[in-house]
């Protein structure tokens, strides 16, 4: 099955105002940067974005915040973005902060047909307010519901025309989980190869989860915290 679309513009076809999007990545690592640039260009508004982080000022999801296209963010950590903080504290932006492990599992559950699950994370905190609680093995847990999205946009290292994906190092993070949870999943890859080229043993996301795939044109791969040591 050929999932290839001509370019990023065709890949994002059908994304409309008010939709819910999942975007893979942790910090700026493994984010679908070509798709984010194109989202800015298309200018769709009132988006709900589910993403572990919200980019930084001037890059990643920070661009969509600056263009005021995001109505609501569902994230776990948003510390590196002044514009985000400003919009949140002023009430312009709705923000739902959830524990990182719960965010990951909620995406996985959404793609796996599990409507909700119990987790110990957040019990006794404001995260638990309004949620069902239950004791298992003598320990309190809270009920968390699954997340899905109109579109999930993920970034992989290599992909084939059938939509099979391989991620590199820690750029995997939320990408495979969100790929499962999108009604339509778009994958942008650094290298697109014909089906049959990738070793089936090495596939991280099977093509069944991916509806559209394209090779990205630019990957700036900005580094947030460049930490190095000197050679002695």
């Amino acid at each position: 099955m050929d999932k290839v679309v001509a370019n990023v513009s065709a890949a994002l076809d059908g994304i409309e105002d008010g939709m819910t999007l999942m975007l893979g990545g942790f910090g700026l690592c493994g984010i679908p940067e070509n798709s984010i640039l194109e989202l800015v260009k298309k200018g769709k508004k009132n988006l709900t974005c589910i993403s572990n982080n919200a980019g930084v000022d001037g890059f990643g999801l920070g661009l969509l915040l600056e263009s005021k296209q995001i109505k609501k963010m569902i994230s776990s950590y948003v510390g590196e973005n002044d514009e985000f903080e400003r919009q949140m504290l002023s009430g312009e932006l709705e923000v739902d902060l959830i524990p990182q492990g719960s965010l990951a599992e909620r995406c996985r559950a959404g793609g796996a047909g599990i409507p909700a699950f119990y987790t110990p994370a957040g019990f006794g905190t404001e995260i638990a307010e309004g949620k069902e609680t239950r004791i298992y093995n003598g320990k309190p847990h809270i009920l968390e519901s699954a997340l899905t999205a109109d579109f999930a946009i993920v970034k992989a290292w290599k992909g084939d025309t059938a939509g099979n994906l391989i991620y590199k190092a820690s750029a995997r993070n939320f990408n495979p989980l969100m790929a499962m949870a999108g009604k339509i999943t778009i994958a942008e890859v650094e290298e697109l190869v014909p089906a049959g080229t990738l070793d089936p043993n090495q596939i991280h996301t099977p093509g069944i989860f991916v509806q559209r795939i394209f090779q990205g044109e630019v990957f700036e791969k900005r580094i947030e915290q460049r930490t190095v040591r000197k050679k002695d």
Partner: protein, 218 residues
């Protein structure tokens, strides 16, 4: 004399045991990796999907695709592995990680911890902290004894929004090692040259002080 950040990291490193998988939070906890005692082999887990984290890369060898949970460029050691975020938190919630070290803004005498939000001022999010503290059996908090305003961070009750309840077992500050047992801080060790009186004066919560409080051996 009170310890510096490196001293706190060195003292926490003494808690490491052979064969443990360890998750280190951002800040002082990250420094613990630099002071693993001789003969101890541990593997560091980073919740963004890395086991077997190594030191920072040499200049020019940074890889944007290889970072830790603090978004710093890192390397991996032989035996390392990568995985997605759900699998990473399966390791954490499933108690496959033996030790979690993290920072805090406040800890209460019954082991509650607050470290993710100051209402109206600072909202960065909890990241993986809530999952970590709710799941780990063995949590050590690395922090300064007082905040920048000079107020104790070891309290009867936390005043900030909680990250987890009744979960902290041990705290290492620049002044002391404390354990939380049955709703009270217990003074276990003091930093070299630091008096018991100073620690008592800077601890707001209930503090149990034994007759003899040994100095830390660093």
């Amino acid at each position: 004399m009170a310890l510096d950040k490196i001293g706190i990291a060195k003292r926490i490193a003494q808690e490491l045991r052979n064969g443990w998988y360890v998750n280190l939070g951002i800040g002082i906890p990250t420094l613990v990796a630099n002071y693993i005692p001789e003969g101890i082999e541990v593997e560091f887990q980073s919740e963004n999907g890395v086991l077997g984290m190594g030191p920072f890369p040499f200049e020019g060898e940074e890889d944007a695709d290889l970072i830790n949970a603090g978004k710093q460029t890192i390397t991996t050691l032989p035996g390392a592995s990568f995985f997605d975020s759900a699998e990473s938190f399966a390791m954490i919630r499933g108690q496959h990680v033996q030790l979690t070290v993290l920072g805090a803004m406040e800890v209460s005498q019954n082991g509650d911890i607050a470290n993710w939000k100051i209402p109206g001022k600072m909202v960065k999010g909890m990241g993986g902290a809530m999952d970590l503290v709710a799941s780990a059996d063995n949590i050590i908090v690395a922090m300064m004894h007082s905040n920048k305003a000079g107020e104790s961070k070891l309290l009867k009750n936390c005043t900030l929004p909680l990250t987890g309840v009744g979960c902290v077992k041990k705290i290492v500050t620049e002044l002391a090692v404390l354990e939380i047992i049955d709703g009270a801080f217990h003074l276990i060790e003091r930093a070299p040259g630091v008096s018991v009186e100073e620690i008592v004066g800077k601890t707001e919560g209930l503090l149990i002080v034994p007759e003899f409080v040994p100095e830390m051996q660093l």
